[in-house]
Structures are given as structure tokens and as C-alpha cells.
Amino acid sequence: MLTYIVRRILYSIPVLFLATFVSFIFVSYAGNPVSLLRQNPRVPKSTIENLIHQQHLDVSPFVRYFYWLDSVFLHGFGKSLQTLQPIWPQMTRTMGHTLQFIVISEVLALVLGIAVGIYSAIRQYSVFDYSFTTIGFLGFAMPTFWLALLLQIAFTDIFLHWNIRIFYTSGLNTLPGGPAWSLDRMQHLALPVLTLLIISFALYSRYMRASMLDVINSDYVRTARAKGVSEWRVIMKHVFRNALIPITTVAALNFGALIGGAIVTETVFSLDGFGYWFIQALNSLDIYEMMAYIFITAVAVVVFNLIADIMYGFLDPRIRYD
């Protein structure tokens, strides 16, 4: 197991370097990051030339990549091209907001998805099963941005018609602080959480149902029933525990992808999160901010892939990595 983990980590290091290198070249040729500055008449030419030199924009992207690597490991991802502010504090701030709403929605989606998946599998082809199958199919077919916009429209209209503020539809906070601050934050986070919750719930409940059905029809469950174990014990001890194994993998992979992938939800709700930050960097062609985001996202995906594999080996003794 340990050798497997070490080998996987050693393999992912060159993959990460190659992935960041390819993205860096991509991003560098995407456009001229100082073109916006040049249009600004109040910025003197010498300042721009200084900036170009300091930020290594005057060397070829292939060389610049190594300057960038240096800034990543020694200077906290360097400075933003547009604002000249250090990137690290912005990253930790936005990442904190993203984690807040991702963790809440993923935990809720997992709990609900597992519960619904179990019940759907036990009562296969019941009305309950069919209704949640329909919801699952809808969840797969629904564009995230549309779901988010529908929620936004609904709660904006509730506010405009009846002047009741249940949930806020954009931003993170309206109060600067004080005792009601946490409640205020929750009112802001509720709709992004709900959006992500619905999408992830569709995935988890379908997965859980399928893996429950897989186990229910296996030989050892028939054996357990045949030797007279009560139905409750069969489901909880024999079926449920084994059916959980595949879903841990799915959840870990999904979480890894979500750290960078909540772009759409954050954009719709103007939530000051990691994905929204990336979109803004993309719009202003700030290559160093974009690369910081890509680097962190790639690391997250690789790490959570590894976690998924390790958990699988840990939970399922039939799997042996060597």
C-alpha cells in the first residue's frame, strides 16, 4: 500500500509539471495582458515598461514558465498583473469562501443522496423510487447556470412582491459585522448551496441506488437471508456497508473537481469565490492569477484522485495495490 502511494505521488509530479507547462504556454499566447493598461492614458509608458520587465513579460513563455515556477514555490504565486497585489492573500480569501459553501452542500448532498438511494433500492419500482429517478434524470440534464438563475429569479420576485427577504441572491454579506453576521452569511450562502446540492444530490442518489441494487442481488446477501438474518440487519450490515464503497470514490472525485469547478454557481451569485476569481482573471487576461488557479485546481484533482484510490483500497479488502 505504501509503495503504491509513493509510486502514485512520484508519477503525478511530472504529470502536474507537464499540465502546468502546457497550460502556461496556452495562457501566455491567449492575448496581451498589458493591452488594457496601454489603453489607460493615465498610466505612463515607463511604468508599463517597468511592469513588463519586472513580470518577465519580455522573455519567451518557455523561459517565463521557469520564472513562474520560482514565484510559485518561493513567492506565494507572485503578484497579479492588473492590480500588482500579491496573489496569495486573494487566493486564500476566495478559497475560504468556496470551501464554506462546497463543504456544506456536499455533506448535505451525500447524506440525502445516500438516504434516498438506500430507500429507492429497497423499494425498487415504487412511487418513491420513480419520483426520485425522475429528479435524478432532471438533475443530470439541467444546466447548472439555469438552475441557479431560476432560484435567483424566484427569491428576487418573492422579495419584490411581498418584501420578504428569505435568502439573498448575490454577494456574501450585507452586514459589516455584529451579532447577526453569521445569519446574514447563511442567508447569502443558502442559494448557492441549494444549487450545488441539487446537482450533486442527483449524482449521489443515482449512484447509491445502483450500487445498493448491485449488492442486494449478490450471493452473500442471499446467504445472509437464507441463514435467517433479519431484513434490517441484512440491509444495514451486509448491503449498506458494501454499497458505500463505490460512493466514497465518487464523492472524493467530485469534491476534488468542485474546488475549481464551482465557477458557474459562483458567477451567477457573484460570490467572491475561487471560480469567480478565475473568471475575472480570465476576462482581464491576468496570466499569473489564471495560472495560480490552474495550479491549485490541478493539484486538488490529483490529490483527491489519490485519496479516492487509497480509500477504496482501505474500505474494500478485496482490492490490493501492489
Binding site: 440534464a141 444546466p143 447556470f145 438563475l149 435567483q152 465557477i263 478565475f278 487576461l285 490552474i294 485546481t297
Partner: protein, 334 residues
């Protein structure tokens, strides 16, 4: 029903049985003898009047007994039909402005209402369907073709081709697809549906190639492939005549699902402003335009609902095909 009548006894085939496996190397060894032959033969030797069905006939039967799949197929035909015939179906032009109806709600003259410039939303949705359809079908067909060829070569020859393919897919899997596509879209430009489609194809083919490679790896060791090789079949014939037909099941399913997935991703890109740009109509773009009119719900609801319907129907068809093309599944679905 026909299942039970199928001859299970070798004696029904007094002469054909011996050479059976050698003559028909392309059949799945697990599949029944009668089905692999597929021709309209009858087993007159046995004195039974059996209707012999080929593998595809069985697949077709299974598909058409899958109610949701048929419903999905009908839905797609209607929606895509409207897209193809957009010039006939749409009551107004894409840019046609009706100044007497600005931001009007759904009515009999404007089925889905009108937008801030008085353009008919229903017509715009129909034109948007056409674009989405073009993206979905183009991406699915082209990326399936590329993935099929590369996956087959990598799986058949192994070696450096295989290594290269796996490293490329590893790279693509290191980042969430949306991030890769957004970055690629800033570099390669955005605009009309074909540019966006090509960007999608660049990253979609890897999935299909992986599937095909996996099937080829397992088929390479099968006895019927060895038999064909022993009887002198060349590489190309082995790959495309004997092995490829056995990968078609998963490939067709993947290609179908790719249509829906491409449409979803394209709409997200267009919504974020990195995909299809006006003047080219697109459903994602219509939803993005609607963001400034949160009071006019119809501008958000109808284009989005259309995306949901298209993807839902495509997924139903994909699921039906998955069940129908699975040769292990002999049971007929009610």
C-alpha cells in the same frame, strides 16, 4: 419467446457446427450460433419454422420495447426537426423586432414572450436549437471518429502509441473540463458554433479513445481474433472487420451521450461569455441575455427548459441504447 425455441442441441446443425467457429470468427463467442450469422435463414433441417434474428434485430427489438427510449427518440426528432426547419417553423426572424411588444409576456402572437428589443423569444429559441444541435452532432460524430481510430490503434498495437494516448488522457484529466475549455476558448478564440465545436472536439475524443482502447485490449486475447489471425487476416482487416464491430455497442452509447454533454457544456461556455457569441444564436447565450431581466421570467425559463428537454431526450435514448446493445442482456424488457 424465440429464445426458448432456439436450438440448444448441436444435432440440429449436422454439417455447419464443426466449421462454425472458424467460418464466423467475428461473432462474439458467447453469443448464440444463430444470431451471429444474422442472415434470414430458417432451420429447415430441424423441421421447425424458426425466425432467425440477427444481433442487430435483437438490439432493435430491445430498444423499441424501452418506453422511455422511444419517448426520447420522438422528442429528439421533434426538437431537432424544428431546429433543422427553423426557417419554416419559426414565426419570426431571429433579429426581427416588434416595437409594439417589448418585454411582452407569453401570448398567442408571441408564444414565449418577447425580449427587451421586442424580438420573439420562441423564434430565437428555435434558431438556438439549430445551433445547439449543430454543436452536439458535430462534436459527437467527429470526436467519436477520432477516438475510434486512435483508441483502436493504441489498443491493438500497444507500445508507444498506447503510452502516448494514456499520457494525453492523463493530462486532460488533471483539470476539470470546464477549466480546460475556458482556457482553450481564450486562446483559440470564440465566436460561431464551429469554432466552439472544434474546441470541444479537441478534448472530447480522449474519452471515446479510452473506451475503445479498453475493449480492444480485452478483444486482442480472444480466440476468434487469434483464429482470424491464423487464417491470414492482416492488421487492418483484424482491427476493422473483426474487432471494431464488437466495440460498436459502447461507442454508440458514448457518442449519443456525448451529444447531450456537448450541448450542456456549450451552453455553459456561452452563458459565461466564452462560447458562442452573438450574432450567432445560442440557447446558453439567450439565458445569459435574460440575466438583466429578472422580472421577465419567460426569457430565462424557455431557453433553459429547451436545453433540459434536449439533454433529457438524448440521455433517454442513450440509456435505451445501452440496454439494447448489451449482448449479455438477453432478457426482453417489457
Amino acid at each position: 419467446m424465440t429464445e426458448s425455441l432456439r436450438p440448444s442441441d448441436d444435432s440440429l446443425y449436422p454439417s455447419g457446427q464443426m466449421e462454425g467457429n472458424a467460418v464466423l470468427p467475428e461473432g462474439d463467442p458467447g453469443t448464440g450460433f444463430l444470431e451471429t450469422r444474422g442472415g434470414p435463414e430458417t432451420t429447415e433441417q430441424a423441421g421447425l419454422d424458426l425466425k432467425v434474428r440477427g444481433q442487430w434485430a435483437y438490439a432493435r427489438m430491445r430498444f423499441f420495447r424501452h418506453r422511455l427510449a422511444v419517448a426520447g427518440l420522438i422528442g429528439i426528432v421533434i426538437i431537432f426537426g424544428a431546429g433543422i426547419l427553423a426557417g419554416v417553423v419559426a414565426p419570426y426572424g431571429y433579429f426581427q423586432i416588434d416595437l409594439t411588444h417589448i418585454l411582452a409576456g407569453p401570448s398567442s402572437t408571441h408564444l414565449f414572450g418577447t425580449d427587451g428589443l421586442g424580438r420573439d423569444e420562441f423564434s430565437r429559441v428555435i434558431w438556438g436549437i439549430r445551433t445547439s444541435m449543430e454543436v452536439g452532432v458535430f462534436v459527437a460524430v467527429v470526436s467519436t471518429f477520432i477516438g475510434l481510430v486512435i483508441g483502436a490503434v493504441a489498443g491493438y498495437y500497444g507500445g508507444w502509441m498506447d503510452n502516448l494516448l494514456m499520457r494525453i488522457t492523463d493530462l486532460v484529466l488533471t483539470l476539470p473540463l470546464l477549466v480546460i475549455l475556458l482556457t482553450a476558448a481564450t486562446l483559440l478564440g470564440q465566436g460561431n458554433q464551429w469554432r466552439v465545436s472544434i474546441i470541444l472536439v479537441l478534448f472530447f475524443w480522449t474519452g471515446i479513445a479510452r473506451v475503445v482502447r479498453g475493449v480492444f485490449l480485452s478483444l486482442r486475447e480472444k480466440e476468434y481474433v487469434e483464429a482470424a489471425k491464423a487464417s491470414g487476416a492482416g492488421d487492418a482487416r483484424l482491427m476493422f472487420r473483426h474487432m471494431l464491430p464488437n466495440t460498436l455497442g459502447p461507442v454508440v452509447v458514448n457518442a449519443t451521450l456525448a451529444v447531450g454533454f456537448a450541448i450542456l457544456i456549450e451552453s455553459a461556455l456561452s452563458f459565461l461569455g466564452f462560447g458562442i457569441k452573438p450574432p450567432t444564436p445560442s440557447l446558453g447565450g439567450l439565458v445569459a441575455d435574460a440575466q438583466q431581466y429578472s422580472q421577465q421570467w419567460w426569457l430565462t425559463v424557455f431557453p433553459g427548459l429547451t436545453i433540459v428537454l434536449i439533454v433529457l431526450c438524448v440521455n433517454f435514448v442513450g440509456d435505451g441504447l445501452r440496454d439494447a446493445l448489451d449482448p449479455q442482456q438477453r432478457r426482453m424488457r417489457a
